[in-house]
Assembly symmetry: C2
Homo-oligomer: 135 residues x 2
């Protein structure tokens, strides 16, 4: 219940297109964490970055899309033997671009929020995805 | 729905004592934001701090209590004319000390989680408190 492991921060972005679908990315089979699982774009916040800057940078790096940041949607966490990560989940809105994946991912899909639970998501996002399915 | 305001990060801590009650603080009437409202301890994460370091520092500064950090409980947000704040809400566990308030607060109470909704909380924490009341 209580941990003395350092707790780092990561942002995850639920990016919506103009039809209300959201973007999921399949992690590369060569990924050292959760290979082949589906994920949202996002990553660590660099020192000095605001959360929206970090979220827009990570989405651009991982998908090639320009977005704006909307509401705070939720939180999650994951744990490794040496550390923990807290995830702040933000709403993003597509502005421009076409999806071009980095080597971190090998597939993508635009999904209706109520169908998110049909994807084999990384474990830390499953509860969040289920709550979106019920909205 | 979408904002271009910078999004800063703050941690809030739901500190539990050994009887399962949690700590709420009444903001000073001289406070420039939400005077007289009830709040959880917490504040901004300094550059280079991990989330658990920031949370333990803020709780010590505002309450005099030493705590350990548990799970990630939720997220919230607030907005001012020039910026937005995302709140990551963490579970804390009392370790040692007696409550000594800073000038930021003028009253405190240890409350059963199901009674949190009876306090006039800052607006950004109301939905979270209501969800805890139902647990």
């Amino acid at each position: 219940m209580t941990s003395r492991k350092p707790l780092a921060l990561s942002v995850k972005v639920l990016v919506f297109d103009n039809e209300g679908r959201c973007l999921v990315l399949k992690r590369s089979m060569a990924s050292k964490g959760n290979p082949g699982k589906w994920d949202f774009p996002g990553g660590k916040v660099d020192p000095g970055e605001t959360l929206d800057e970090a979220a827009r940078r990570e989405v651009l790096e991982e998908t090639g899309l320009e977005i704006t940041i909307g509401r705070v949607l939720g939180a999650a966490e994951s744990e490794s033997p040496t550390s923990r990560i807290a995830y702040l989940i933000l709403e993003g809105h597509f502005v421009s671009g076409e999806v071009r994946l980095s080597e971190e991912h090998e597939e993508f899909a635009w999904v209706a929020p109520e169908d998110l639970h049909e994807y084999d998501l990384v474990s830390q996002l499953r509860a969040f995805a289920l709550s979106r399915s019920r909205d």
